[in-house]
């Protein structure tokens, strides 16, 4: 027999049944074990009760086997056999925890330069970046690198955690100097919101609970920041872009004439009745309905997945884009992008690659390599045109068909694309349109 859920349930308020409507914050952490990154994540997970008894038991056992004195919290995030054996993070690992205020997805990435591509991957979907600085060492090359990646990938919020404050006797002037040094180089970057928190991940100072050792600090704790940073404006709600992903044609008796366009509103808002334009055809029409299963809604906004129907019978297919009549993207085939190269085989100038951009598949040729960025010093190098694994550069491409795009700075969805090696099918380049 079926269990009839209707009978079992009397709807209670969200609070009683575990917070049905929380905000979701995705953040990335870059750093190595030496920075205390794993300890910090371990503490966030542990103090928010996201580590379970059997997980704890398993890592206690594993730590013991490796002959370590302490329970090694890094074993929680290092999920692959090779990572545990070598004691390093190789790949992006995703972790989840929740507080009564928000749900969190952590993209935990390795911090060394040879893993830049993993950092870029983790950063691509993040609302916030946590950058760890060891208070004893201050701003290092890797700090600049991590901040640069956050800036390049346009992560809206950056939280600089000055860690190991316990090892410098919780001195205010050391913290202040690190803040100043960071601000100095961050001025050269494109970061909208930078915060600083002095912490000791090991002792828990200012991570979840306020530190008793730093009376001079009256700012928020790290968790308070993560719970309260305003993320409502992180999504572009101005420029409406709806890449058509899938055409829905039931061809059943009941829905004989139904022709819906499935897709995700990547930015902006759509309302029933809105005047729209379809790219590339340029035909105009208006929104007849916005459907989510058997109900129609008046408006939908990014990042919702919906099905829309339009008033006029126009030929629309996957790869087309629906936009508002008075606010369109750029349309073109010659595109300048920043690129992070993800593959051992270097980028080939004049080489041809497959391109994925929103729901559109085209091909392109790399027409120019303008400069390479030294991500430790932020200097541009116009001489060295060899773009290998983990390199970041500015290039020009020409696509076989026009793309409907915006600058990455304005729109993280229509401003991003990937390059694929047509022989191996591997994703080789991550591009941000300039």
């Amino acid at each position: 027999m079926f269990t009839d859920n209707n009978k079992q349930m009397t709807k209670k308020s969200g609070k009683e049944i575990g917070y049905l409507d929380m905000e979701l914050l995705r953040f990335t952490t870059a750093g190595s074990v030496d920075d205390g990154k794993s300890t910090l994540i371990g503490r966030l997970l542990y103090d928010s009760k996201a580590i379970f008894e059997d997980q704890m038991e398993a890592i206690e056992l594993a730590s013991e086997k490796k002959g370590e004195d302490h329970v090694n919290l890094a074993l929680l995030t290092d999920g692959l056999r090779a990572e545990r054996e070598q004691g390093i993070t190789i790949d992006v690992a995703y972790r989840y925890f929740a507080t009564p205020k928000r749900k969190f997805i952590i993209a935990d990435t390795p911090g060394h330069i040879q893993y830049t591509r993993n950092m870029v991957t983790g950063a691509s979907t993040a609302n916030a970046a946590l950058i760890l600085i060891d208070a004893r060492h201050g701003v290092l090359e890797q700090t600049i690198r991590h901040a640069y990646i956050a800036s390049l990938l346009q992560i809206p919020h950056v939280i600089i955690c000055v860690n190991k404050m316990d090892l410098i006797e919780y001195k205010q002037d050391v913290f202040e100097k690190i803040c100043q040094d960071t601000r100095d180089f961050a001025a050269k970057l494109d970061i909208k919101d930078v915060r600083f928190v002095p912490i000791s991940a090991l002792n828990g100072d200012n991570v979840v609970d306020r530190s008793k050792n730093m009376d001079w600090y009256d700012g928020p704790t790290l968790l308070f920041l993560l719970e309260n940073i305003h993320i409502g404006s992180d999504v572009n709600h101005i420029d409406t872009r709806f890449p058509v992903q899938y055409v829905i044609r039931p061809q059943s008796d009941e829905f004989h004439d139904y022709r819906g366009y499935g897709g995700r509103i990547v930015s902006g808002i759509l309302r029933k009745g809105d005047k729209i334009k379809v790219l590339p055809s340029g035909f105009s029409s208006s929104i007849k309905s916005i459907d989510i299963m058997n109900k129609s809604i008046e408006k939908a906004f990014a990042p919702q997945s919906v099905t829309i129907t339009i008033e006029d019978d126009i030929d629309i297919s996957r790869g087309d884009m629906i936009v508002k009549e008075n606010n369109g993207p750029q349309i073109g085939q010659d595109i300048d992008t920043m690129i992070c190269w993800l593959n051992e085989k270097p980028l080939v100038l004049k080489g041809k690659y497959a391109v994925k951009h929103t729901s559109k598949d085209v091909r392109c040729m790399v027409t120019d390599i303008k400069f390479k960025v030294d991500i430790n010093t932020l200097e541009r190098n116009v001489e060295d045109k060899v773009i290998g694994l983990n390199d970041i550069a500015r290039i020009s491409i020409r696509t076989t068909k026009p793309l409907f795009y915006d600058s990455y700075r304005k729109n993280r969805s229509t401003g991003s694309l990937i390059l694929i090696d047509e022989a191996t099918n591997e994703t080789v380049g991550a591009c941000m349109i300039v």
């Binding site: 049944i17 690992a93 990042p303 099905t307 991003s416």
Partner: protein, 301 residues
Amino acid sequence: MENYNLKHLHELEAESIYVIREVASQFEKPVMLFSGGKDSIVMFYLARKAFWPAKVPFPLMHIDTGHNFKETIKFRDDLAKKTGAKILVQYVQDTIDEGKVTEEKGINASRNILQTTTLLDAIEKYKFDAAMGGGRRDEEKARAKERFFSHRDEFGQWDPKNQRPELWNIFNGRKNMGEHFRVFPISNWTEMDVWQYIYMENIEIPNLYFTHEREVFYRDGVWLAAAPFMELKPNEKIEKRRVRCRTIGDITCTGVTLSSASSLEDIIQETAATRVTERGGRYDDKRSEAAMEDRKKEGYF
């Protein structure tokens, strides 16, 4: 000022629907793996949402070990009838009869690992180029490393150290002949999200998830359901307890929890209070520290 903040369940839903539609667009012959557990039920519900009012444009496939809770099979068949979904059932018993795998022997014998061969055979037989699964990253540490679109070579193997980078929401499903993809549309959901969503959307689930009286026995810290094909150790005895399933899988390796939770609210509260992961009751994961990673490399779900 209107509020345009999408709350977590809606955001997760939007992401999963996007992924499922991407599968239907990028692949020629996708399939959705269906176990009858809550995760695959939610995944299938999302698929119906993704294509409504059209039918889901791919079949479901159940890899049946033959060691089931009978309630699961009834639920599966009823769901197919109600939604008009096409469900292919592939039997591990057939793979054993064909002599391709040998049944494990002894006390902890399970057909869990044998499923891999049946699954890979079915993928080859039907020429499926993408198989969607209800795996979640929060379930297990090897799964935490999994991509949404996860490439499998011509032997169905996963190479965790050489995964394609996955950036933004751009999914690369390109492959060579004979290769396929495993896709995990609910990667970012936690156990709690799944329960909250079932509650919010009022999704039907098998009554095994609610408290009921059952014959069980205790082994190595886990309560297991008694069944004819389960061999008992001398010191183990069958007793009746009020239990519920936290996960539903093969009966030989799915632990049950002592619980009096009789409604979805009770389950949500129990999930919030529990201090053990849901796979803590899964015997298949306890075999070694890298049990899941090893199975996945071979082609497991």
